[in-house]
């Protein structure tokens, strides 16, 4: 091959390599940027007085004096809104029946919107759900709700050939000629005085339990459950995996049984995780009866089975990568095989074994399917260490899915979903980072 062709080939390979890296980096950005920007919103956001009220009532946090003075200032503006409403209600009584019925229907919509925005109105019965006890706690949500109050959403079905189109009609026009017409501009102009938005840094999102199925509060039970499950899985899988790897590399004699075991191990690594989930339910809970029903221990065992092949593989490779000369040196000094493995081979293989272990830990933390049937519940409080044998736990992976797709008010709690995703991604990233650091430190120690 002549030198010109060779150079062109080299350059085009370089170009293709750089190009693919750029594409991957962009794909990563597209995934990560929304997760980070939206996820951070769970902790840093513009909170309203309703948020501070909620914190004070549900978590007993915050300054009561400050809160009551804020509430007093907010209530002055609210009182105006409420008085406009009572005024209109009185006006409603004096109307002719047809008009009365027409306005009543419209007015009840206004009431509902106001309830969503400001919380229970005077004279409302005490709400059953905590979520109905407070108005909008987040300013950007409050602005959405304000829009709902000001405009009625309608659907344009005039053209049957295209999909119906949404359009908005101002509610104020509907109340033209009544006293309520003033309410809309008043709320619009004074919303910030009613809700008192303020930059909020809610670290409690990471350390609080949730209130009213994740409507308020934090995700601590999920974070804790994720750690319990992942670490529990490691406690079972890591020692077992390392011992199995030592057996495969040092003790197993080549033969039919050995090659069967190895291929079984490889196959196990490729089994879909939902199959492990079903297996966990059938074996650990129904057959072995490690617990009455779902429990952390059952989930941890299932995850352990799932990550075991990976740990065995990486440990095996790490052990095989230890130079043969170490083994020879140790044996020639009169060391037994067992001693050689424990004092020379395993320490030298440690960086590789640890890396495999921590990457598996990250995988165990992120898996959903194996814990659906064995360990996860959608809503629950943080469990104590003593309860791992009997109680299930919420966990980030499962709750992300649950909140995004099965929660009855999924669209109201987007910030919680993104917050959970960011928390999970950060945990996995942190684990992998610690693997890298650990590996670097151990191999530095080995290299001297």
């Amino acid at each position: 091959m002549n030198i010109g062709t060779r150079k062109i080939l080299d350059r085009s390979f370089t170009a293709v390599g750089i190009g693919s890296i750029i594409v991957m980096a962009m794909a990563l950005m597209i995934v990560v940027v929304p997760i980070v920007t939206n996820g951070i919103g769970a902790v840093f956001f513009t909170g309203t007085i309703e948020h501070r009220k909620m914190l004070f009532n549900e978590f007993n946090r915050g300054d009561s004096e400050n809160l009551s003075s804020e509430a007093a200032s907010s209530n002055r503006y609210r009182a105006k809104v409420y008085s406009m409403m009572t005024g209109f209600e009185a006006e409603l009584e004096t109307m002719v029946p047809e008009k009365q019925a027409e306005y009543k229907a419209k007015y009840s919509q206004v009431r509902t919107s106001l309830q969503a925005l400001l919380g229970p109105l005077p004279g409302d019965p005490e709400p059953m759900l905590t979520r109905s006890k407070y108005g909008q706690t987040r300013w950007e949500k409050a602005e959405e709700k304000l829009h709902d109050l000001l405009y009625e959403s309608k659907w344009d079905n005039s053209n049957p050939d295209v999909m119906a189109k949404e359009y908005f009609v101002s509610r104020a026009i509907g109340f033209e000629g009544t006293s309520l017409v003033n309410l809309f501009p008043y709320v619009e102009n004074n919303l910030d005085k009613i809700l008192l938005p303020e930059f909020t840094c809610y670290w409690g999102f990471l350390t609080d339990s949730s209130v009213d199925s994740h409507f308020f509060g934090g995700i601590w039970p999920e974070i804790q459950g994720t750690f319990f499950l992942a670490i529990g899985a490691m406690l079972f899988a890591f020692p077992l995996g390392v011992v199995a790897a030592v057996y495969f590399t040092e003790y197993a004699k080549p033969g039919f049984l050995n090659s069967m075991l190895r291929s079984a191990n490889s196959t196990l690594a490729g089994v879909p995780s939902i199959v492990f989930g079903m297996f966990g339910l059938a074996f650990f809970i129904n057959t072995m009866k490690v617990s009455e029903s779902k429990s952390v221990i059952a989930g941890a065992l299932t995850l352990a089975i799932m990550i075991l092949p990976t740990i065995i593989r990486s440990a095996e490779e790490a052990i095989l990568a230890v130079p043969k000369t170490y083994r020879e040196a140790s044996l020639s000094l009169g060391s037994t095989k067992w001693n050689t493995i424990v004092t020379v081979i395993l320490p030298a293989a440690l960086p590789g074994i640890l890396t495999g272990g921590v990457i598996s830990l990250g995988r165990a933390a992120g898996e959903t399917a194996p814990i659906i049937f064995t360990a996860a519940v959608s809503v629950g409080s943080a469990i104590g260490l003593a309860d791992v044998f009997s109680s299930p736990t919420p966990a980030l992976s499962w709750n992300i899915y649950n909140l995004a797709s099965e929660h009855e008010a999924a669209s109201q709690i987007r910030h919680v979903q993104y917050g959970m995703v960011l928390a999970l991604v950060s945990i996995v990233l942190l684990l992998n980072l610690s693997a890298i650091v650990l590996r670097a430190r151990v191999s530095k120690k080995l290299k001297g």
């Binding site: 000369t325 040196a329 044996l331 001693n339 001297g448």
Partner: protein
């Protein structure tokens, strides 16, 4: 500096006809060195079907230095590694005949290979210190055999390092990683590590092939120091080295022990024409 092409062709050194370069230096006699320490009787080593060492019979004298020479692949390393059963690491390897160490069969049914290796230490072609501190490298063997007292370990470490003539170079950095030493230092450290378990026999498998001439000279000096205290067997490709350090020499060719004689005799007056061809460089 330039070299004139004319000089090269005209001033080619005259080939020395004699084999004086192989004349071993005079050495003092060793007391108690006339007993047989290791003895092979019709000893063969196989890798699967392949017979790597063929019916070797030889007696190795205690406390003397025995060199094993021969071309690559002649079985000399295999023979050396058979003495402390390092060949056990190769699953297909098996032996016939007898190899006696202190009168006991090395490959006997009841031989404890771990005990054997404690008595028969080995230093390998490439320096292979553990990725641990210098101290831990030397103390590894004694610890294995039950010495845990810190003071006693320190004594052993110092004694071994002194015997291996490396104490002065490393005494102030015993806690540093052994992989930070130079190749020659690493190899002497490996010798010290072997000496720390107080073996009777020292097997050296081409110990200087990865070292520069200066480090090689140090190792050779070390062998001279140790001569008389240990039975030493050294495999080497360097015939001058064999003649410099050994008292007797074995010449292997294609698995057969062609000649085994005192070094002086083997290099100056070989009985077998094959030996003569080899040491005069007619084949290698």
């Amino acid at each position: 500096m330039t070299v004139d092409a004319k000089d090269i062709s005209e001033s080619a050194p005259v080939q020395k006809a004699t084999r004086d370069i192989y004349l071993p230096p005079a050495r003092k006699k060793i007391t108690g060195g006339d007993t047989t320490h290791i003895s092979a009787k019709e000893f063969s080593i196989y890798y699967g079907e392949f017979e790597a060492v063929k019916r070797v019979s030889a007696d190795i004298l205690a406390k003397y230095v025995t060199a094993i020479i021969g071309p690559s692949g002649c079985g000399k390393s295999t023979f050396l590694r058979a003495i402390n059963r390092m060949n056990d690491l190769i699953p297909s390897c098996h032996t016939t005949g007898a190899l006696l160490f202190d009168g006991e069969d090395v490959y006997g049914k009841f031989t404890d290979e771990v005990l054997l290796r404690k008595k028969v230490g080995m230093v390998f072609q490439k320096p292979n210190p553990f990725p641990k501190s210098i101290f831990d490298n030397i103390a590894y063997g004694p610890r294995l055999h039950g010495v845990n007292d810190k003071k006693k370990l320190m004594e052993i470490v110092e004694r071994s390092l002194r015997k291996a003539a490396i104490w002065d170079e490393v005494c102030d950095r015993l806690d540093k990683n052994a992989l930070g030493l130079s190749g020659g230092q690493q190899q002497r450290l490996c010798v010290a590590r072997t000496l720390a378990v107080e073996p009777e026999v020292l097997l050296l498998d081409e110990p200087t092939s990865a070292l520069d001439p200066k480090a090689t000279a140090k190792i050779e000096d070390l062998i001279q120091e140790l001569r008389g205290s240990y039975t030493i067997m050294i495999v080497t490709h360097n015939m001058q080295q064999a003649s410099r350090v050994s008292d007797s020499t074995m010449f292997f060719y294609e698995g057969v022990l062609v000649e085994h004689a005192s070094t002086a005799q083997l290099f100056t007056n070989p009985k077998d024409p094959m030996t003569e061809d080899y040491i005069t460089g007619r084949f290698s």
